[in-house]
Amino acid sequence: MALLEIDELKVTFRTRHGPVTALDGVSLRVEAGETLGIVGESGCGKSITALSVMGLVPSPPGNIAGGAIRLAGEDLVNTSPRRLRRLRGSEIAMIFQEPMTSLNPVFTAGDQIAEAIMLHQNVSRAEALSRAVALLDRVGIPEARRRADDYPHQLSGGMRQRVMIAMAVSCQPKVLIADEPTTALDVTVQAQIFDLLNDLQRETGAAIMLITHDMGAIAEMADRVAVMYAGRVIEEGRADDILDLPKHPYTRGLIACIPNVGKGEGGEPPPLAEIPGVVPPLHLLGAGCAFRERCGSAFERCAAERPRLLGPAAHPAACHAVEEGRP
């Protein structure tokens, strides 16, 4: 039994165009101490997957229509809001994309971390504050004692994200969900944040679910990768396998999009690759493969039948072309 198991999760949203399936049978597993990377473009269901695990899918309009989420065997979909609230922050924690806006502007950094501690542990305010300072120190904020009295607007983006991380790990959660934790940060700061997350994971043995659209982040952080497209997992496997031998045309496209700064064949850097088109609106998904409009390998079967996740258990992909061995 894996620490966190998502099993055939289906999430629907009520929209003007009628009900739309945002997640369609997503299954994922994360073990303790493991980092699962979830990649895909905007709108493919990454964040909804994370919010589902947190029990924070906005409802209405969102609704978990089927499937199961289990944390150490405990069902999270049908549990009481009270129990879920207790798990949030203590067993499962989340780091958000925008450190600029995910801290409350009217409270100091120290206050907000202390608040998170006091929500789940029966400690005095003074004790919580001193732990907050220790955490700030742990996440690499210099002069932590002084910085604890700073308001978010006095901290840089990288520091704010460190504060968010300190808040998230304050109660030593078993699962840490990081939703594009470095998207809003400088490249140099990104690497520091990844190092920090890796260190913390080694210390606490937490499972990390890293949501990103950045293949570089995957290479840096992930042990295993799930590639998502239009609400489904379309390829899954060990990070090395996916990066070296991507199967699905979409995954290949994503990897081709990693900018290559080095010299190409003609002595010039190769031109940036792109995947033409955008993720189709979910209410317009027909019967076939959701990627076929943008896919170079599409053939008749792709328009008629939606591919299922098939292939070796260690590295399956959902693509008719891969299944039939077409180029």
Partner: protein, 295 residues
């Protein structure tokens, strides 16, 4: 925001909490500071003026309608009964300000609670509460307050309650709008993600961020409430047993053509007070508005 300017020296950047920062901005605003000074002066005068001056506002001390300046003992003259107007002003200010403050407090209490619940929970609760709010909003305010005061005793408490009951819908709508806006922000989701419950998110996370416009609105409500009390008193619905500025105007209004001063001076006092309160409210509005900070 000036405090976020990385070029500013570290010491200056430690402008402390957002409230403190607003105070720094407020202090630079001259009209607002003048308003605050005037308000403090008026409050001090109503608190201690009567004691220092020593006259009894209810006692007939001289001939009626003595014009101001005619007798050095009564610098602002006497009213239609021969009562000292200065004594009346100094004594009547307290109840006037108290009614204003109490009504504003009540307005905030009802308005913020209902607005917060409606804005935070949305859906059916929002619908229900907002229809309820609209019911109060469409009532003609002065008429409703008059009915309340006539039905019950025309005491200052009742007047404050009446004013509170007719002015909270504004505050409720403002609070709801702020809550609707803020509840979608990421730090609210982040608070939920660390396991905070609804009550905590409403009062500890969203409300502090919604406070600036509410503080401004509360200040302005004080001014409106003072005018309201004066209006009720003018119509003869004030508390006849407690001296207030509105009551002075109401009692003397019949003689305004023959004696202007018993009406004019309390009127001026009301004008100055509301003016001071509005300057402060306006200053607070500017102080809390980051877009105006660079000026």
């Amino acid at each position: 925001m000036s405090a976020a300017d990385p070029a500013a020296p570290r010491k200056a950047a430690r402008a402390e909490s957002p409230l403190r920062e607003a105070w720094v901005m407020f202090r630079r605003n001259r009209p607002a500071m003048a308003g605050l000074a005037l308000l403090v002066l008026i409050i001090l005068a109503t608190l201690y003026g009567a004691l220092l001056y020593g006259g009894d506002p209810y006692e007939i001390v001289w001939a009626p309608h003595e014009p101001p300046g005619a007798t050095p003992e009564f610098p602002l003259g006497t009213d239609y009964l021969g009562r000292d107007i200065v004594a009346g002003l100094l004594t009547g200010g307290g109840p006037t300000l108290a009614v204003g403050a109490a009504a504003a407090l009540l307005t905030m209490l009802i308005g913020v609670t209902i607005g917060a619940l409606a804005g935070y929970f949305g859906g059916a609760i929002d619908n229900l509460l907002m229809r309820f709010t609209e019911f109060f909003q469409v009532l003609p305010a002065l008429l409703f307050a008059m009915v309340l005061v006539t039905l019950f005793s025309p005491s200052l408490t009742m007047i404050a309650i009446a004013i509170g009951l007719v002015s909270w819908p504004q505050t409720a709508r403002l609070t709801r709008a702020e809550f609707l806006k803020i509840r979608k922000l990421e730090y609210v989701t982040a608070a939920r993600a660390i396991g905070a419950r609804d009550g905590r998110i409403m009062w500890r996370v969203i409300l502090p961020n919604a406070l600036p416009p509410l503080i401004v609105s509360a200040t302005l409500t004080i001014g409106v409430a003072i005018l309201f009390e004066a209006g009720l008193s003018f119509l003869g619905l004030g508390d006849p047993n407690t001296m207030s500025w509105g009551l002075m105007i109401g009692a003397n209004r019949a003689y305004i053509l023959s004696a202007w001063w018993p009406v004019t001076f309390p009127g001026l006092a009301i004008f100055l007070t509301v003016f001071a309160v509005s300057l402060v409210g306006d200053g607070l509005n500017d102080a809390f508005n980051p877009k105006l900070r660079e000026r």
